[in-house]
């Protein structure tokens, strides 16, 4: 074997060593969480959290139990449902509107579009904290959404308190449009002008070009935007606390705050199971849109 070969092998070995170390580094907290979530609350203290439970959850039987997960699910069920009701429409709407706005600002030519685009960019930099009070005022005093929504409560599966989720959907959609517009615009700038012109010569209107040409070519970008917005909105606590405040319409992040906390102390296994459970949907979204996401970010 020549020295060059040996060098190459050593390099490869080093590469794998680094990769394994990195995988361990990133997976350890998750492993810790997983093991904690199946540990008996009584035996939680006094053992290394990243090792399998020393004392099996159900004492004396030697078998594990997923009971904290069951409890976590029971505790979070309502929050999870509310979160899904909120996140799915808000994600789709902000993505769709962002895409439309980006198309109008990038591929359609009209006067003053730079000024409008500047407003969109400015919108990205408005901090959440700055709008909390006006937002509460808006949804509770300016727009009587609660009474406007009341008639819809007669529909099956719709509850009167859902008006708060509608308010959240609108808020998150509005807040998400600027960043979505920015992301889509970067993508649309790379679309061939000649292709859009060819479609115009082929007789397609501005809206037809969007529907039949631009939208189908945006799918990878939608994956990027959906993952981003889904995670963002799912994990939001601030707007939910401001608009939902408390009660039946609480979303999962709000429910998570209180779970496993009692006067007797903190039930860490339950909290850990709940935290993992609450993070699961974002993980699923990554897996579902992952390959399109890769296409989108490398496009």
């Amino acid at each position: 074997m020549s020295t060059a070969d040996t060098d190459a092998r050593l390099k490869r070995l080093g590469l794998y060593a680094v990769l394994v170390a990195m995988a361990g580094f990133y997976l350890l907290p998750i492993l810790t969480g997983l093991f904690t979530s199946i540990t008996s609350p009584e035996s939680y203290t006094g053992q290394s959290p990243f090792l399998p439970p020393l004392e099996p959850l159900i004492a004396e039987t030697g078998s594990l139990s997923l009971q904290p997960w069951g409890n976590a699910f029971d505790g979070l069920a309502r929050g999870l449902a509310n979160s899904f009701i909120l996140v799915i429409p808000a994600t789709i709407l902000s993505g769709l509107f962002g895409s439309m706005a980006a198309y109008g600002l990038t591929n359609v030519d009209w006067r003053g579009q730079v000024g409008i685009y500047a407003l969109f960019v400015a919108g990205i930099f408005i901090p959440y904290q700055a709008v909390l009070v006006p937002l509460t005022q808006f949804w509770y005093n300016v727009v009587p959404l609660q009474s406007l929504f009341a008639p819809f409560a007669a529909f099956p599966l719709v509850q009167a308190y859902h008006w708060k989720l509608v308010a959240l959907i609108v808020t998150h959609t509005a807040y998400g449009i600027p960043i979505c517009t920015l992301l889509f615009r970067a993508h649309y700038k790379k679309l061939s002008d000649e292709m859009i012109e060819a479609a115009r010569l082929d007789g397609a209107s501005v809206s037809t070009i969007y529907r039949r040409i631009v939208l189908p070519l945006s799918i990878p970008m939608f994956a990027v935007v959906f993952i981003y917005q889904f995670t963002q909105i799912w994990n939001d606590l601030l707007f939910a606390l401001t608009i939902v405040q408390f009660g039946d319409a609480s979303v999962v992040t709000q429910e998570l705050v209180g779970i496993g906390v009692s006067q007797a102390g903190t039930n860490f296994p339950l909290r850990m199971a709940a935290a993992l459970l609450a993070a699961l949907p974002t993980l699923v979204v990554y897996v579902l849109f992952g390959d399109k996401f890769a296409e989108g970010v490398t496009a």
Partner: protein, 382 residues
Amino acid sequence: MAELTLDSVTKVFNEGGSDEVVAVDELSMGIEDGEFLVLVGPSGCGKSTTLRMIAGLETVTDGEIRLGERTINDSSPADRDIAMVFQSYALYPHMTVRENMRFGLEESTDMPDEEISATVEETAAMMGIEELLDRKPSELSGGQQQRVALGRAIVRDPSAFLMDEPLSNLDAKLRATMRTELQRLQADLGVTTVYVTHDQTEAMTMGDRIAVLDDGVLQQVGTPLECYHTPNNRFVAGFIGEPSMNFFPTTRSDGTLSAEQFSYPLPAAIASALGDATEVTLGVRPEDVELRPADGDRDDHEFDCVVDVVEPVGESNNVYLRFADAPEGETFIATISGMRNVAAGDRVVATIPPSAIHLFDDRTGEALKNRSLDDVDGVTPT
């Protein structure tokens, strides 16, 4: 099908601004029904802008564009009944070839579905792309994409075709084939066509007529041979033809042109045609320059030269010549038969026959005298 008329068409970008650019200036020409007109010029000369104005992709600042009897200045691109082939082909990447070809018919006509399908199949068969119909553009070679782009334009059955350098992305061999094929196709369909290119070979070989544009101004419209043999001005003379015409700046006194390296006596008939122009550029096409070995006597139109470089093209040699007493680097070109043997450093005698010279006024660039066409068929060594 219809004739296309441009009447004093002008395009100004950033009008009224400090960076105002006149891209096309008072362009007037008529393209007859079924004619193949090639719009040619160097990059930035306004040829693409002109095409885009005809297509409706750019607004017209001033003047009028008519298709048949209809003024189309303010019609939307969709209403102009025009199809365009782009340099990048501009196919819709997410659609199959069939969908690409259907798109225009679906959007611009009320044709029922079966009729669209039949029309697409028929056009695809004519273009020889039937077996590609269910493929995506990314699965096609450059030549196939080109063919699909053409098919997409043809299937619309428009009043006019606009083509913006459609062959420039193909390799040389395929480009030559497609040139011929495109001409045949256009002749068969008989659709008025405006074809934009910067390649003078395409212009010469493809057009019924060619329009030469420079800096937004129309220099000449004529058949390829008219532009080649009787250019209106120095620009056209230099742009059309490969290798380019040789130019020598000269000063005229009576019947003699004096250049730095030589003086050239003019026959009386030519001298009288020059009027009062004193600064005159002498032009001669490389193939009109004759070479013979350096022996015997020289007459007034023969000059001692040294061969600088020889470029063999196969059927001909491009010989770069230097006047015997000229400094390095100042050369002119003669094209001679590929079967004649010349080598760098050879001393030769170059003849510039008076019948083949062009003379241009330096002040205006306009042609004062073009080569005599009496002997076009029989230019033989004298």
